[in-house]
């Protein structure tokens, strides 16, 4: 055969290609499988970068993001997990596990000589049927504020129960729900700030209604301001360079240098005067504030905070209701921010600046405390998941029960569909239902329970109309999910179902893998 490709390129065909992608995808799914569910285990990730820093997590998206994967099919799974993270924030593990299970079932069917296209059309019918089954069972408590809040609480608890925060899940669920309720329906999580401070224990974490800026107050400036008028700025407070391109200072004597320096100082002073002229008592800048202007501010009794990061500035402007200013010539039209009280507070050993009584009620800050950075990082990820799910639920208030309940409901409907469908597709539909059941099975397995026994019991329970049974991992038996208060957001389940099916379909359709020769990189030593 003629030599078609470049030297290091490889080509896999037909069965071999399919096998390579099945194996790759299943390997990824198996990797994540043990982290699923409330009793899922964590993974330690060590980076290859300098310092070999490690992180401990059981967040599917985080694990997959840090893996270096060569198998193209596995990359598809990594991609769907990432999208799940961006779109709904949670269910990143489930989506990969479900896709992996679908492929595992598909592999068996392919071995039975069923054409992948037939399997795909079966999967499509099944996923549509499963989605409809879920839609029929959703609970929507949008109109009942009290119930809706308890729904949110339940969802938060369910989400958090599989994370490091599970010990204090009630505490954190309350934090998350309070924070999200303050947003009043917007999904903009930017106004929820999370600050991590090592020390103390996780239960010491709290929600603060104001805004906390992790900065120090300049020396000699007031430590406490009531009824503050705040100017949020993004301007150079060092020497305020001349921006005209090509400008440079060219002098012939020391005296001239001194003169120009004087002029520069004068310019700065003018600028500071203008800023002070806004009638403010607090000035926050994104860029550095040099000693000289800082001193001037201190003289005027103004609190000046330098070097707030960009997010911080935006959030601060949002919170205090001011605008981000860069020029100061028209004090009357610049909108200033206001807050009732600015003070320096201590968390652990660090001093932070606390803004309370802010205009916009949306913003709040969650301060996380914990034993180590790893714990805090993981706590932040978990909390982020919970916040994402909650904010999405506020938009789409449909709720499902958790603990493997939705999977069993779908599996039952899909099974019925399989029985009604003539032709080879029925096998694929049946396989879909098996893959769905693999999720509760994995949850049970991870909790060290007898999954075969439990799942069969669960299936029997679900045969009754309107069952609310699911796996109660704590007692290790089939329990009533409604009574236990385990709920999940419909949006998460829907996204899991659709993207897992889509990914499985994509991988199944492939019958040839062509890997180009890797680009040679210069050895950077």
């Amino acid at each position: 055969m003629a030599h078609l490709f470049k030297d290091e390129a490889t080509e896999e065909k037909g069965e071999r290609a399919r096998m390579a992608s099945f194996i790759g995808a299943m390997a990824i799914a198996d990797l994540l499988k043990t982290t699923l569910g409330p009793k899922g285990m964590d993974k330690i990730l060590q980076s290859t970068g300098r310092g070999r820093s490690i992180s401990v997590t059981n967040d599917g998206a985080t694990i997959l993001k840090s893996l270096h994967i060569d198998n193209p099919a596995a990359k598809v799974l990594v991609d769907i997990s990432k999208v799940q993270d961006d779109e709904v924030g949670d269910g990143t593990t489930s989506v990969v596990v479900l896709a992996g299970e679908l492929l595992r079932e598909a592999e068996k069917l392919v071995a039975m000589k069923i054409h992948p296209m037939t399997i795909i059309s079966g999967f499509r019918m099944a996923s549509e049927c499963a989605l409809n089954a879920l839609l029929r069972k959703v609970i929507d408590n949008r109109d009942d504020a009290e119930k809706f809040k308890s729904d949110l609480m339940k969802i938060a608890m369910t989400t958090l129960s599989s994370k490091i925060l599970s010990q204090d899940k009630e505490h954190f669920a309350k934090l998350a729900v309070d924070a999200v309720m303050r947003l009043k329906g917007s999904t903009n999580l930017e106004s929820i700030q999370i600050i991590k401070k090592p020390g103390g224990s996780l239960t010491d974490s709290f929600l603060d209604e104001g805004f906390i800026l992790d900065k120090k107050i300049g020396i000699g400036q007031p430590k406490r301001i009531e009824n503050a008028n705040i100017l949020v700025a993004n301007t150079a407070m060092d020497t305020d360079k001349v921006k005209i391109y090509g400008a440079r200072v060219r002098v012939d004597s020391m005296a001239r240098v001194a003169q120009i320096e004087g002029a520069e100082k004068e310019k700065m002073k003018e600028k500071v005067q203008k800023i002070i002229g806004h009638g403010i008592n607090c000035f926050i800048n994104r860029q550095l504030i040099y000693n000289f202007p800082e001193e001037l501010f201190a003289d005027a009794g103004i609190l000046a905070i330098e070097h707030a990061d960009f997010d911080g500035i935006e959030r601060l402007a949002l919170v205090t209701g001011g605008e981000i200013a860069s020029t100061f010539d028209n004090p009357e039209s610049v909108k200033l921010g206001h807050c009732k009280l600015i003070e320096e507070i201590m968390i652990g050993e660090d001093k932070l600046i606390h803004f309370s009584g802010v205009e916009m009620g949306q913003a709040c800050t969650i301060v996380l405390r914990g034993a180590s950075f790893h714990v805090l990082d993981e706590a932040e990820r978990s909390l982020h998941d919970a916040l994402c799910v909650l904010s999405q639920t506020v938009v789409d208030s449909r709720v499902l029960l958790g603990g493997g309940w939705p999977e069993m409901v779908m599996a039952k409907e899909v099974d019925e569909l399989a029985r009604k469908t003539p032709g080879k597709k029925a096998h694929a539909i049946e396989a879909f239902s098996k893959a769905l059941q693999a999720i509760p099975t994995t949850i049970a397995d991870n909790a060290g329970l007898d999954s075969a026994e439990l799942i069969s019991k669960l299936r029997a329970e679900h045969h009754k109309e309107g069952s609310t049974a699911g796996i109660d991992v704590i007692t290790g038996a089939v329990g009533d999910m409604e009574k236990l208060g385990i709920s999940e957001a419909f949006k998460v389940k829907q996204a899991v179902l659709l993207s897992a099916t889509e990914a499985a379909e994509m991988i199944l359709r492939v019958d040839e893998i062509i890997t180009c020769a890797p680009r040679r990189r210069e050895d950077r030593m």
Binding site: K75, N188, G262, E502, T515
Partner: protein, 535 residues
Amino acid sequence: MALAFDEYGRPFIIVRDQEQKTRLRGIDAQKAHISAGKAVARILRTSLGPKGMDKMLQSPDGDVTITNDGATILEQMDVDNQIAKLMVELSRSQDYEIGDGTTGVVVMAGALLEQAERLLERGVHPIRVAEGYEMASRISVEHLENIAQKFVFDATNIEPLVQTCMTTLSSKIVNRCKRPLAEIAVKAVVAVADLERRDVNLDLIKVEGKVGGKLEDTELINGIIVDKDMSHPQMPKQIRNAKIAILTCPFEPPKPKTKHKVDIDSVEKFQTLRLQEQKYFDDMVQKCKDVGATLVICQWGFDDEANHLLMHRNLPAVRWVGGVELELIAIATGGRIVPRFQELTAEKLGKAGLVREKSFGTTKERMLYIEECANSRAVTIFIRGGNKMMIEETKRSIHDALCVARNLIRNNSIVYGGGSAEIACSIAVEAAADRYPGVEQYAIRAFADALDSIPMALAENSGLQPIETLSAVKSQQIKENNSYFGIDCNDVGTNDMCKQNVFETLIGKQQQILLATQVVKMILKIDDIISPSDF
């Protein structure tokens, strides 16, 4: 290697040997080409038709593409063989010209090469084969014209167009929602089409994708989407009846291209310079404001100060908008792109009914929608989907569908799909062959056999018995003298493509046959390859 040793015993080379080069001549060279061409066609063969499979391609940087679009597969395959590169070119030119049928053309060329190989083995001279192919292709192109049908539609009745686009989409992964996508594609094309001149400028249709949501959320927007947000976080997120200034000059101090310097050697100069600078920014913003703009779209960045001034004067602005998008915005809003602030006038502003910023998902990704434009001739297809690869593949599929719709507007002749056109041509060519005296007769017959390979591949990919199905359909066509019979890929139960509504454009089919024949002729004419071997 001819080596000699000098007086110190060191070796040196006298003549560099010809072994460094490999050389193939005559029939061997032709066979090598044919086998390379066939190898490429074999890769694509399984992707043909509605039940065709996809290919997974990993680029040198490790990115994964999953597609069954012939042109894309070949493009990304990074082939090394010269003949294979010809095939890649072939598929690309079909893509540029027609936009669809990129797989078919390569499969066709592969089949022609395969037939040629047999003839060469029997001792037929390659040039005679090439000439025979040329005659045969002329016959089939003419025959296609005979069996083609005119196809009636207008701006109000787009149903036939939608049907045709659905045929194109049915072979892609998006076939789950081919109906809505086909409708979107057709509506987009009709919106920008110039029905008088029968021309469509596809540049006016922008295809934008964003990961997330589902495929069903894909929508057609009568306007432009820009993947940018307002330059200042506190600018208004929604503007009604916007007057848009489209600028290609930055809100920054001037940067002349010639080298210059401004020397500061006294305090006065320092201060005047400072004042000038301030005034400069102020002037820029004022100028925009004076002509009545309510939105500024700029190709370049803004200085912090300018940004604040804009915000301050209540003039929302968007920065770093790409050149292509800028042009589209200009077309859509009826504005002019202004390269200098001095040239900004009220007439040059674009107008849009609604400009809004929309955010997606949990991350802070925002996009700018410009809708209800003054000139609705520019539209955007906004694709949503589960993952990046899905979006990319959908983009390619939509592109194919757009091309098909455009071709139909240009020339409304159609032939029926499902391999029926190829079978009809094959019958016609076969019949014509007998009339030619000489060796070409064999080549023409071989061409007919090659035409059969497309319906064969279709049948094979659909899980049917290829030979059995093909012969059944062929006899049916001859018996009933009806060229609408093709391969029933979707197991609908009828072979009549007219009833199944499977169409393809006439020019697309003709182009396929012509291009494939040309390339094969070119390959057959090569009889010597000299290539430097690898060290």
